[in-house]
Amino acid sequence: MSHRLPSPLPLFDRNLLRIVEKVVPRAEREEWSRAWEAELWHMHHCGSPRRTSIAGITADFSIGLTRDALWLRTESWRHTFSGTAILCLALLFGLLLLSTMVALILNGSCYLLGIYLRDPFGRFLLEAPLIFVTFAAASRSHIEQSSASRRMCWIRRQIFFAAKTTLTSLLAFMLSVNICWLIHAHFPVVAELLQTLFFVIFTLIGLRWVFWDQERRCKHCLRSLATPARVGRPSHNLLEWNGTELICKHGHGLLSVPEMETSWCQSSQWIDQIGAWGETASI
């Protein structure tokens, strides 16, 4: 504590500050402690005409400084993980876990769930690759790279894509199974047909999102691209650029998405800016 107070704070306050400051991100810890020391000092020495009980004020300030520290920590996490591949996979995994829990509750036990899932899961293993191959072949999504991507980045992108596809397919499967659970006991054949139908529909929707999301991510850090900006005018479509540009917040590159396909611009274009920044810095 670098800033000395005119008189020390009570022991409870000092201990509370020392404990709660661990929650605050390291970079902001010193300033946070200084601000709260000052606030607590004023609370004790200037008093409060509205609140007479010192215990009540101390309790209120204890909640306040704890919530303030938690807010800073949450904000730091939001800043660190916002739009990252890890957050995307964690959310998908969380949803999958949730739908599995629902299936477990509906069936009553792990054993009964295992029996209920045995046949549908067998079909899933056959259907999922078929749907993926069909969708990937029909999808026109393609991105031109302005420069040769690094091999490690390419591998990371493919691993992320594979993980996202797998989790999305499993989520679609669990959703379809849960939806058909109610009628399975009375109409097993209809339930099986409906389950397959729902699975195909959910997987197609999911795969559409997977491809769309993959296209709109930075090719280096895999974060979601931000600040979409309309560039050009529809009347210029055949002569000049007309579309949307998205950038990586960390300055790795820029994605140009054409509004409509033309003979000279058939696909989205990723413009790497890492090399460009390096050249600019060297000048």
């Binding site: 800033h3 200084r34 000052a38 606030e39 004023h42 509205r50 306040g64 919530r67 807010w71």
Partner: protein, 101 residues
Amino acid sequence: MSNPRLSHSAALILKALSLGHCFGFDVMEVTGLPSGTVYPALRRLERDELVESKWEPEKEATANQRPARRYYEVTHEGRVAALAATQRYPLLARLVPEKHS
């Protein structure tokens, strides 16, 4: 720039700041809000660039025999948002008295 939609408590805090109550404890006193609401709201307002904070000069604080406080000041965007909030919540103007220094 579009006006950000403020919650009632955030609007109250912004109003208090714009009337000259410029540090956390003072805002708590004048609005009657608990510290668990005031301090995170001040952080959010600062993140959204509606207010900015600065430390009181050490010399001034030492002369008054107290630690330096963190002062909050409403930005131009904050003033616009406070005005919009007052129009949206007409009672806001009557809830917070102006500070007499």
